[in-house]
């Protein structure tokens, strides 16, 4: 609770003072007419935070054996059709550069694809009972915020002397030039949504068990993350799960990756399912 108090204080100060509401015992999606998309929006000020405890993913290999991020503070606002989730956690190091042995800070929100009495397995769902995941990555946020899609932006000392697809007689930007460049970027040529450059720092995913994660048919999530003095604050905006009506309870789960701790994929800190109450219209 000590850490949550720190986060609450930070939020209160950022929002211009005033006592924060008491901690929540579940994630309550507070009903508002409009959804805030910025992490520092004043609308978050009077929304109670739920401190979701995180445990290492130690069920399937590769596992995370040493815990890192212990909890994530979650605030939620809904307009009745969409939901904005604000995740805030402590991470002393900013990790948003891709590279060999370098991993990005990241977080994710997981919801059952269908609202049923019996929830799917909290670890990535299960066969026939999918979960939807909205995944935010700091490295993508940096690109969205303006970091150029160049090697020098991530490796400032790099000085390549020649790329065959940048050489004459190919005209820069011509279809021939772009086609040749794609030949040396196979993941981009195949449209792998990981391969960038991305317009959104959040990716929509679907899973039916560990190792089955795949991009959703349609990107429906938006988001924005900002670096704070001691960590990250990320807002993810997405539709409410299908069948989850105002006034009802659903489930939600969270995950946080600490890049400095070499966390990626299954090596992550995760929560159990947490009750999610969608407030009815006032």
């Amino acid at each position: 609770m000590h850490r949550l108090a720190v986060l609450d204080l930070a939020l209160a100060l950022a929002a211009g003072g005033g006592a924060p509401p008491p901690p929540a015992s579940e994630v309550v999606a507070v009903r508002r007419a409009t959804l805030p998309t910025a992490p520092d929006d004043a609308a978050w000020r009077d929304v109670p935070a739920f401190a979701a405890p995180l445990v290492p993913q130690d069920m399937v290999e590769p596992r995370l054996l040493e815990p890192s991020t212990r909890e994530v503070a979650v605030r939620t606002i809904t307009d009745g059709t969409r939901v904005a989730l604000r995740l805030e956690w402590i991470d002393e190091t900013r990790d948003d550069l891709p590279g060999t042995g370098r991993f990005s800070d990241a977080c994710a929100v997981q919801l059952p694809a269908r609202v049923e009495a019996d929830v799917p397995a909290p670890q990535m769902g299960e066969t026939g009972r999918p979960v939807e995941v909205s995944y935010w990555r700091a490295a993508w946020q940096a690109v969205v915020d303006g970091r150029p899609d160049t090697l020098q932006a991530i490796e400032p000392a790099a000085a390549p002397d020649h790329y065959p697809f940048d050489a004459p007689p190919l005209a820069p930007g011509s279809p021939e030039q772009q086609a040749m460049a794609q030949r040396y970027a196979p993941a981009r040529a195949l449209g792998n949504p990981m391969s960038g450059p991305r317009a959104q720092p959040v990716q929509d995913l679907v899973a039916e068990g560990p190792g089955t994660l795949r991009p959703a048919d349609h990107g429906r999530s938006e988001g924005r993350g900002v670096r704070t003095a001691h960590g990250w604050t990320v807002v993810v905006v997405r539709p409410l799960p299908e069948g989850l009506r105002p006034g009802q309870r659903g489930q939600v789960a969270f995950a946080v990756w600490d890049g400095a701790h070499q966390e990626a994929g299954a090596r992550k800190m995760r929560s159990a399912w947490v009750p999610l109450l969608v407030e009815d219209a006032r």
């Binding site: 130690d58 590769p62 995370l64 891709p98 065959p164 970027a185 560990p210 190792g211 070499q262 990626a264």
Partner: protein, 376 residues
């Protein structure tokens, strides 16, 4: 974990997936004795596959000067140290493989290179000669000075550690030829394969966010052609083909003949348990104690066989097929002093004399009263 058979270890072992051998298995033989480390293979690969942004540091093919050259730094030493001393009981491996020695929470015993480990490919390659000739040797070694060139590509292992380590099964062995590839549409760049591959032949691309690796030039191999690093090798040290399991070895398959029949070509660090499919003729001038660790217990037989290859008409002939054609040569035979490479149906692809005719040209041309220079 499943139980699978690894013939290189002479025993069954544990692996993440059940045994599922491909219909045929890409394999290669490299004769280390012929390599001069010109790196033409490295450039052939580089220009063909890894000239893109984010691929600058990648060498799907590299040649390193052993024992002190590495790419990435100390790739084999780090893992050997982590695995600890292991033993062979004759031809049977009595130690633990990387799968059997996996630490808690891991699928494979591995280690993660850092960016700087890739910064100096083949660091130390000149140490035996010293920085300047007049200064002599720069380093004092605990043993007699020797070195050899180890050319390396992906081993397209029967039991790949990269494949086993991928939590989302983005890596697969092609059923038709056993070539190991990373699905570039599925990879999410977790870099588990980079950590797991003992040979460090998967590479993370920071510009595409995925890992990439040697594909054995499969678009060429599908057309019956050898990969780029093979056909550009000016030392003709390489031979690509398909390997059978020992019980199905065919004498007229060049790879089978060298690996199974003559046992003159050996897998690289077989004790890791991956059943790698690039086989090396060991360098015959290098101390056997070192090579035994690298190539396993069949080293002495391979060294002795190669030393006497000139007295073995068939073996001597087969080595003449190395670098003789761009085509993959699945069958071969010797006809007197000529070696013939054939396709699967027995049709001739290439014919090479085992010994080239020798012409001695007098330095002084008496008829013209001139001394010849070395021109045709």
């Amino acid at each position: 974990m499943a139980r699978v058979h690894n013939w290189q270890l002479g025993r069954d072992m544990s692996y993440w997936y059940p045994e599922a051998r491909p219909q045929s298995q890409f394999a290669a033989v490299f004769d280390t004795n012929k390599c001069i480390a010109c790196q033409t293979c490295t450039l052939a690969c580089k220009t063909t596959w890894t000239s893109g942004r984010g691929q600058e540091y990648m060498l799907w093919n590299n040649v390193e000067s052993k024992p002190y050259g590495f790419y990435p730094l100390a790739w084999d030493l780090n893992l050997l140290e982590k695995l600890g001393p292991q033993t062979w009981d004759g031809d049977r491996y009595a130690g633990r493989t990387l799968f059997e020695a996996a630490e808690a929470g891991e699928r494979v015993l591995g280690w993660r290179p850092e960016e700087l480990d890739y910064a100096h490919p083949n660091v130390g390659e000149d140490d035996c000669a010293g920085a300047a000739v007049e200064r002599g040797s720069e380093v004092q070694l605990p043993h007699d000075k020797w070195f050899f060139y180890l050319a390396r590509i992906c081993n397209h292992c029967t039991y790949p550690a990269c494949l086993a380590s991928c939590p989302r099964a983005s890596i697969y062995k092609r059923p038709e030829d056993g070539i190991v590839v990373i699905d570039q549409s599925r990879c999410r760049g977790y870099q588990e394969c980079v950590k797991a591959c003992p040979y460090k032949k998967t590479f993370f691309n920071p510009m595409t966010g995925t890992s990439e690796k040697c594909i054995a030039c499969f678009p060429k191999f599908e057309q019956g052609l050898q990969p780029q690093c093979f056909v550009n090798c000016i030392g003709k040290i390489r031979f690509a083909g398909r390997i059978s399991t020992p019980e199905h070895a065919r004498e007229d398959n060049p790879i089978d003949y060298l690996v199974h029949v003559k046992q003159v070509a050996l897998p690289l660090y077989p004790q890791f348990g991956l059943e790698p499919n690039v086989y090396y003729v060991p360098p015959i001038h290098v101390p056997r104690r070192y090579l035994r660790q690298m190539f396993g217990p069949r080293l002495d037989h391979a060294m002795d066989t190669y030393r006497h290859a000139a007295d073995d008409p068939d073996l001597a002939a087969l080595f003449c097929l190395f670098g003789a054609t761009e085509r993959v040569v699945p069958r071969w035979k010797r006809v007197n002093d000529v070696v013939v490479g054939m396709d699967e149906q027995g049709a001739e692809i290439v014919r090479v004399p085992v010994r080239e005719p020798v012409f001695i040209r007098q330095a002084f041309d008496a008829a013209r009263g001139v001394t010849r220079t070395n021109v045709p």
